[in-house]
Amino acid sequence: MAHAPHRAFAEESARRSDDADASDKGRDVVRLIERIRAKYAPRITGELVIPPRAGQYVPFPAGLDARLDHALRARGIHQLYSHQHQAWNAIMDGQSVVIVTPTASGKTLCYNLPVLHQALTTRAKALYLFPTKALSQDQVAEILELNQAGDLGVRAYTFDGDTPGDARKAVRTHGDIVVTNPDMLHQGILPHHTKWAQFFENLRYVVIDEMHTYRGVFGSHMANVLRRLKRICRFYGSAPVFVFSSATIANPGELAHALLGEAVTPILESGAPQGKKHLLLWNPPVINADLGIRASSRSQVTRIARFALKSGLKTIIFANSRLMVEVLTKYMKDVFDHDPRRPARVSAYRGGYLPTERRATEKCLRDGRIDCVIATSALELGVDIGSLDVCLLNGYPGTIAATWQRLGRAGRRHRDALGVLVASSDPLDQFIVRNPSFFLGASPEHARISPDQLLILMDHVRCAAFELPFQDGERFGGEPLGDMLGYLAEEGVVHHEGDHWHWMADSYPANTVSLRSIAEGNFVVIDTTDGKKEVIAEVDYSSAAMTIYEGAIYMVQARPWQVERLDWEGRKAFVTRTQADYYTDAIDYTKLKILDEFEHSGEPSASCACGEVHLVRRIAGYKKIRYYTHENVGYGQISLPDQEMHTSAVWWRVIPAALDSVFANRWSALDGFLGAAYAMHSVACLLSMSERHDIGRAVGDSQADWFATVSPDGRAMRTPSPGAALDGFMQGDQFSATVFLYDNYPGGVGLSAQLYDLRDKIVEQAQALVSLCECREGCPACIGPILAGEQQRGFSPKAAALKVLSLLRPPHDA
């Protein structure tokens, strides 16, 4: 209710008719589900029902500013949900909190309420951080509406790259609530903090929404930006309370703690009412059994949407790219908006549209004048669009958390709602729809950061030294600050004098530090189609060799580009648009050596450990693989310098005797390891909310004596290190085959430590992934592309992978 003030008013004043209407709609949803189930049962791989929940209401807190009280009532809000009240109490008590409640549960009021109250009563200031500009603007719009309703006079402004120069001063000096993003804080505000002196002196609240997006490299940077922010606040004598809000992940409290460096009170129980929710997992039917090709997710989504609209149900469709939004919109409009004289029933909503267009669409949605909206993640949260009955996801959004956020768009209060996740042919999608368990119970997704990653930490020590001289004995992060400053002194950028370290270089360090990468070696991807010269993406140094070699097909927002030229020294890849019907897969030879083992567990026969490794990677060539059929349609050579990396890794190892007991020979055992590694890699990405290139994988032994890889013309080509005799390893006791998953960043970003904690789950889920896959001998959705000839050889790579996985699985729950 609090989250949707417009509608809330209508609901409060017309609760009865709403209830009557709700039960009708509820029945419609149930009927729709029955019809779908009757017709498409085989396509539904999972179904779950989330029971309805009654709202838990609490009166406004005593002492709430009268103007704010009035504003809320004017917006139709007469009481709070229990979690909003809980947040109020904790925040007013000076505790930092993390709020984890579902989409549309009035999350923003949890922080807006205390912030506005304190702005009105004590002129306290607040800083809001959102990961994107669009979200910032929505937030300001919402505050302004409340402001207007109660004539509060609280000044809320966005401050980002689009803020005009002459408006900036007003924001700095008059803003009660300044809404910005981490990059702007890092590059535009902290290094100029003296201009913000008044603001920092009175800063009492820092709100960090979408906390779950601050994970991995980005999150590690964010933690350091917050260290800098707190340091500046100390200088101005303020100690703000931090309010995090997050989508549902497995470890919100831990993540908030890691980001802030102090304990944070979690608020996890939503008091918002919720209707019954049905969730269907949907796999498109196989249309070519020989090639294993499935119908497109788009065809399925439009089919279900047609059903829903014809049943009179308001529907939202989420697509993962802007292009797909347009394609789906055209299709739906062809069906429902072919008569130009009638008002449109279908509308698109995505980033890139003008704010006015978006506001108009939002209003139409709230007023119920549009029956179907097709959106990107831009509509995932924040914006109030009223209640919808059906939510269709065209493809898995990449994380379970984002899936729930999107599904949260359908259903309110007393109504039944339906969400359908329609899988694409992507391996991860295929995996997800076969595992309904991911959606049951607690979130499987962990977000971890590594704020003391040395390069990231050093970047921010630099920035912090620029902002304020460090003092001897001060602390910043987990490494000895004196040593780090000593390093910078040798570089000539700081100068130690008395007990202070002063910045003395003619440079502005924040400009060279990107919050989304490690160090400065990033590549830019430049689109040169039709004589253009436009930067369309950035690629981390560590993943460049694997993704943007000459000839590679590089995907941006699900559209393919081909790399024409790679300027390694200049860190540039020149690409053009392509219609290629294949994708490319790099063939890497990775030699890995264990330098240090931190932790260790398991049986003597099969064990798991994590620690520090050194690896040398050579990208030798690439395969061209046709979409859908996954057949190899060509190879290319790549000539790039070897890459070396010290990083952290987690590894699973099986002793030769155990292998020999289940495999006829060690060559097939290696095939099994390669397949198992592929599946474990997929699962590891899912559980740690990582992109595939964040984590590397390798199969070899621990001494870099040999390693295995999938070669262009066969699986498991083994290449011993120069001078080592391969045959020696194929017999005897020296063969310690190992699966490695490593942080694909120099120095690591904390992923491996987390994967070690999740080690049993990874093996277990990988087993499920492979055994539940409908293919016969293996496919890219489970153990990676296999050769057409495997079957004739009378050998099943899939079976081999499963054997390895069962060896790796700890006996207690085998």
């Binding site: 003296t194 040395l454 950028v493 008395g498 202070h500 003395m504 502005y508 360090p509 400065e520």
Partner: protein, 411 residues
């Protein structure tokens, strides 16, 4: 592995150019320099030694150590001193009010300000290690330079500068609005002191210079203005980009060889500010310069309401070049309702073939004097020049109708 090796290794592996310190780092001292530095007695190892070093440096600079880490150097340039072509005394009778409309000021109220900084990056990490101030006193132009021998002297520097700021009413700088003053404001803020600029006017000579010379000069740097406008050529000047290098070398190794040159560089900046303020004011007054933009001068006069002067100025430099300025002046007269003056200008311009003036005359005769016949004459002449121009056609039709109604033309 120690921290330094770990960092170097990881930087190499993450694609940093060479894993070595970044390109922004100043040149490292050579081995020889490092040995010398260790031998050099003035390299401070103790506070006492530092103090001795600073005292020695102060003497060398003809200044005195006024606080820990702060040397103050005073110089006086008699007003008869010629900086380039002209004596500084020109400042005394310069019409300073012409430089900034409304901001008239006597020369004694001016405070010349220029800083030398550790860089141009801005933000809180840039420090002014030398603050040069100048003001006119009975004895002449007094230049006061506050030089840091250590970071720790900054508080004293800022505090000592207060007195000069408080005694002034207008700051004179060259690009100080964008650079020097915001930077000083940041420094005051970091030292939790109130910056003293709030009540002061600010004359940024860069803007005045740009208005007058940007059409003739490739750039409008202070050095260019000195050479082409003041006729002042610096010899053995320390190039600007070496100024921060000199100070950081001094801090790190105690090498003070370049410090006198840094102070001289800054001192000339201050003297040039005085001379430039004087000459620009005179130029806006009545002086001339072959490279100055006369239109800009006229515009400045018009903007400050000195129309008579503007007319005289334009008369003095008659010729086609000034047509836009005349036009501007005529418009200003019209705006003020001084139609006779405006018309006189338009007629002169029209005689020289200005279509714009003819159109103004047509409007004037139509709307102000209601002399439709004259207005028609001008409109016809305009239509001869530009037969297809719709607005002239429309005016002609409208004028014909008005003329008919007035009985000037047969119905």
């Amino acid at each position: 592995m120690n921290l330094k090796r770990r960092i170097t290794l990881l930087r190499t592996q993450s694609g940093h150019a060479d894993g070595a310190p970044s390109a922004a780092a100043p040149p490292q001292p050579s081995f020889k320099e490092r040995v010398e530095q260790l031998r050099r007695p003035e390299n401070p190892r103790t506070p006492m030694a530092a103090c001795e070093r600073d005292t020695a440096l102060a003497q060398r600079l003809n200044g005195r150590l006024v606080a820990d880490g702060l040397i103050e150097v005073d110089d006086v340039f008699p007003l008869a001193h010629a900086h380039g072509h002209r004596p500084l005394a020109r400042l005394l009778d310069a019409p300073l009010g012409t430089l900034a409309p409304g901001g008239a000021s006597d020369p004694e109220g001016l405070l010349l300000v220029d800083t030398e900084t550790t860089g141009l990056a801005g933000g809180t990490g840039t420090i002014a290690f030398l603050l040069g101030l100048g003001r006119i006193e009975r004895a002449g132009l007094r230049v006061r330079q506050l030089f840091l021998t250590r970071f720790s002297g900054e508080g004293a520097l800022l505090a000592r500068a207060l007195e000069w700021f408080q005694a002034a009413n207008t700051i004179v700088s060259f690009n100080g609005k964008c650079f020097d003053l915001p930077l000083l404001a940041t420094r005051y803020r970091l030292h939790r002191m109130q910056a003293p600029f709030q009540p002061l006017g600010h004359l940024d000579l860069l803007h005045a210079t740009r208005r007058l010379f940007s059409k003739s000069w490739a750039d409008c740097r202070l050095r260019t203005a000195e050479e082409r406008f003041l006729g002042f050529i610096r010899t053995d000047d320390l190039p600007g980009h070496l100024v921060p290098v000199a100070w950081s070398a001094f801090l790190r190794t105690g090498d003070l060889r370049s410090i006198p040159a840094v102070l001289e560089h800054n001192r000339w900046d201050i003297v040039s500010l005085a001379a430039l303020a004087a000459e620009l004011a005179h130029l806006y007054g009545s002086a001339t310069h072959p490279e100055a933009d006369l239109v800009a001068v006229a515009r400045q006069k018009i903007a400050s309401g000195r129309l008579q002067e503007a007319a005289e100025h334009l008369n003095g430099h008659g010729g086609r070049l000034t047509t836009p300025a005349w036009q501007l002046l005529a418009n200003e007269y019209r705006r003020q309702g001084r139609h006779a003056q405006a018309m006189a200008i338009w007629e002169a311009l029209a005689a020289r073939g200005s279509n714009e003036a003819m159109e103004d005359l047509a409007k004037h005769h139509e709307h102000v004097r209601k002399d439709y016949a004259r207005a028609l004459d001008y409109t016809r002449a305009l239509l001869e020049q530009a037969p297809g121009e719709a607005r002239h056609g429309q005016r002609q039709a409208r004028l014909m109708a008005k003329a008919r109604r007035a009985g000037l033309l047969p119905k």
